[in-house]
Each structure stands twice: as C-alpha cells, then as structure tokens.
Amino acid sequence: MNAERTLTQAMVDEPPLGPPPDRRLTLSEWNARPDPGGRICELVDGVFEVRTSPSAAHQVALVELACQLRENQIREGQARESRLSGEYDGWWLVPNATVVLDDGPTPTVRAPDVLVGIGPDPGERDVAAANVVLAVEVSENGSRRLDAWTKFREYERAVIPSYWIAALDGESATLTTYRLIDGTYRMVTTGSEVVTVSVDGLEFTIDVIALVSPQRRHANRKSGAILTRTDIGART
C-alpha cells in the first residue's frame, strides 16, 4: 500500500452510495442502505457516516489482535469444555461488523474493529448489543477521542460487558481493558507488553508488542508462544 497515495477520482465516493441522506435515519432506513462498496458505514444519532479507510498499520494490528483473540478463544474454550465435561457453545469473533447500540428514534449503529460474542454466529444483519461480550477498537494517534471518549460512552450505555482499546503509537502499542461494573467501565488492566485479562470467566493473554512488531509476530508463530502459554490440562 502506498503511504504517499494522493486523492484521485476513484477515492472520491462512487455511486451507488451517492450523496449522504439529508435527514437522520431510522433503523429500517439504515437497513435499506445500499451496498457501501467496501466502505465502513456507521449510524451516529441517526446521522449516516462513512468512515475513512484505516491505515495499513491499523489493519496489521487488527488482524494480529484478532488472531490472538481467536487463539485464546480456542484454548480457553477447550479448557472450559473439559471443565464442564460437556459441549461448549463457543465464541464467535468478527471484525468490522455493525452492532446496534441504540435502537431509539435516532439510532446509533457502530462498527467496532472486533466484536466478540457468545452463542450462534451473527447473521447478515447488525449484531445485537446483548449478544456481544467484548468490543475492541484499534486506536491510532488522532482517533483517540473517538475511541476513548465517544465510543467508550456508547458501548457503556449499550451495556457491552468488556471494552478494549489497543492504542498504536508508532513503534509501541498499549492495550487498555475496561469492564462494566454497575453500568460504568472501570479499567481492569493496561500494558504495552503482555496483558492478561479475563472476559466472561475466560482468561485471555495478549502479546501487545506483536501488534506493532513483525519480528515479535514471527517469533511467536515459530514458537507457538501464545497458543501454548497456558497449560490446558492444569486448568481442569
């Protein structure tokens, strides 16, 4: 991807998305939206918003974080299954899916970088906030207020049990995790190296350095460090 890319005709919005609606939308109008052609759309207090495409660094960190979450899910899911000596429903994980945070007269629908939920896989429509256990945002320098303030409050109102912000800052990254306690997010952990946090009773270990370091990712994959970090047998 060319970091020096300049604005060309193709980057200016293509039909059929067309011009933005001239009023606040209801949920059914949102559901009737045209195919956004790869752009991420959100509805904020009924206002239709098209997000700017994230940077390559953001996407690399997002994929890495999603992979680690998935590895943790598999490992912890197996652990829980053996503990419960029954079938474990499993978790789903989905990047950039839209979740309805407010279905009132001026609805809000956001597309968090990663959504983690329990139960049947989400369908084609927006995910219901009630099915989400964790929302994750990868935050770049400059989008901090949106993630750390606006979305923070929105997810809190929507009663999403856990919220993580992975803030990228050049060569380093910081993962801060919040858990909903009596209707407000309280910080659980924060760290720039390896962060361990429990979500819905499952223990997640995230290598934060790997979000920004290709060498670290390579080393982890070679050694299987993250996947084998917890001894599954010892936990049962």
């Binding site: 890319r5 919005d13 998305l17 067309g18 609606p21 009023r23 939206r33 206002v47 606006t150």
Partner: protein, 230 residues
C-alpha cells in the same frame, strides 16, 4: 503524508438519474433533487464529496461550497450531517436575538453556525456550534476562529436521544478551554444547562426552563429559555 488538496475536478458531477435512487421516492436514500446541489448553468447535480482519506485543513478549505448539508471535520474525518430542522433554526435565531443586545456590541459578537478550530494539527477538528460568542475584531473577515478565542459556545439538541453534543463536543470544548458551554434541549419543556470551565473541567453554573442568568464579564447575561419554542 503529503496529499493533493481536494479540487473541483475531483468532485464528481453526475446526471440526475441515479438508478437505485428511483424506486421508492419517500426513501431518504433517494430524492436526488434534495440530496444534491444543482448547478444552475448545466442542469447537472454535484454529489457531495466523501473522500476516502483523512483531510487536512487545506483540503477542508478546498471543499466545494454545499449548503445542502452541514459539514464538520472530526479528527481528520469529514462528517456530513443533515441541515438542522426548522424549530432548531428558529430557536437559534431567538437565542441570538436575546443575547446580542445584552452584550456590548463593540466587544462581543454572537455568531451563528460559524467554524471553530478545535485542533489544527495532525488530524484536525473543526466544529460548527449553533452559536458562539467571540470578541469583536474590526472588519473580521476570517473564515473561522480558534477555540481559544471563544468565550461561549452553544449547542441546541433535539430530539432527546442525541448524544454527540452531550458527550463528544462537551469533551472537545472542555479540552479546548472554551470558558462556557451551553446546551439547549428543545424537548418540551426546553431546558438550558450552562457549564463553566473551572480548573479545566466543566461545572454546571446554571440550569433551568425559564429565565436563566449568569454573570458574563461582570454583567448579568440572561436567556429566557421559555421563549425559544413554539
């Protein structure tokens, strides 16, 4: 990152026919004549630009004029909002009419829908508060003012579930150090919540549904909130 500014030629001009827009007329995704600016000379419509990258202040300046929407720049992203409703605009005018005579005309300007720069650096933010009070500079022809100049900004919210003004803008105005932030809620009965910056944090200075008075620059400043709706 270097990037060309937006130019006129990058703004797509299209014919009035947009196939997917023509099936069900009351749909908000349709109504081409309302959704786009018609250039009178060519009888063609210009769609509102929706650039797929973060904008700089220079890009913002180069945006084509479009009075069909409200624009703000939020951390480099172009936010395009619907124009405010009639009751909102009527209230805004009524507030301005009440406030300006109480402020010394040669010292304070009450400005409707003007741009305030919250952050001009990397990923800039420009907001357009419903009303702002800034000091008079004779013959001021600038397109916008800096947040540090604003003595008071005011946002009118309606309907009741709109959170942006109470959350995001609150935080932005607070961090930008704007001395006073007033939020008017037009849901019946209309209310004013007046915040004042104390040690970098907004604190409620006054609130009410009728006449609300604060002290502004040594003078009382009153807004009768009961006279904003109809």
């Amino acid at each position: 990152m270097t990037a060309e500014p937006l130019t006129e030629s990058m703004v797509r001009t299209v014919k009035t026919s947009v196939p997917w827009l023509e099936e069900t007329p009351p749909d908000p995704w349709i109504g081409t004549s309302e959704l786009a600016v018609v250039t009178p000379t060519e009888g063609r419509i210009m769609t509102t630009p929706r650039p797929d990258r973060l904008l700089t202040l220079a890009d913002w300046d180069a945006l084509p004029e479009d009075n069909s929407r409200r624009y703000e720049l939020v951390e480099g992203e172009l936010h395009i909002m619907p124009r405010p409703a009639i009751n909102h605009q009527a209230a805004s005018l009524r507030i301005g009419i009440q406030l300006q005579p109480q402020l010394q005309e040669d010292r304070w300007l009450v400005l409707p829908d003007s741009e305030v720069v919250i952050n001009s650096h990397h990923r800039p933010t420009i907001r357009v508060p419903d009303l702002a009070v800034i000091p008079v500079k004779p013959g001021d022809r600038r397109p916008r003012f800096d947040a540090s100049e604003a003595a008071l900004v005011l946002e009118i919210i309606s309907p009741s579930s709109v959170h942006a003004d109470r959350m995001t803008k609150y935080d932005e105005y607070e961090k930008a150090g704007i001395g006073r932030y007033w939020i008017i809620n037009l849901d019946d009965p209309a209310t004013l919540t007046a915040y004042r910056l104390v040690d970098g944090k907004y604190e409620i200075e006054a609130a009410g549904t009728g006449p609300v008075t604060i002290e502004f620059e040594g003078q009382p400043l009153t807004l009768n909130v009961g006279k904003l709706t109809f």
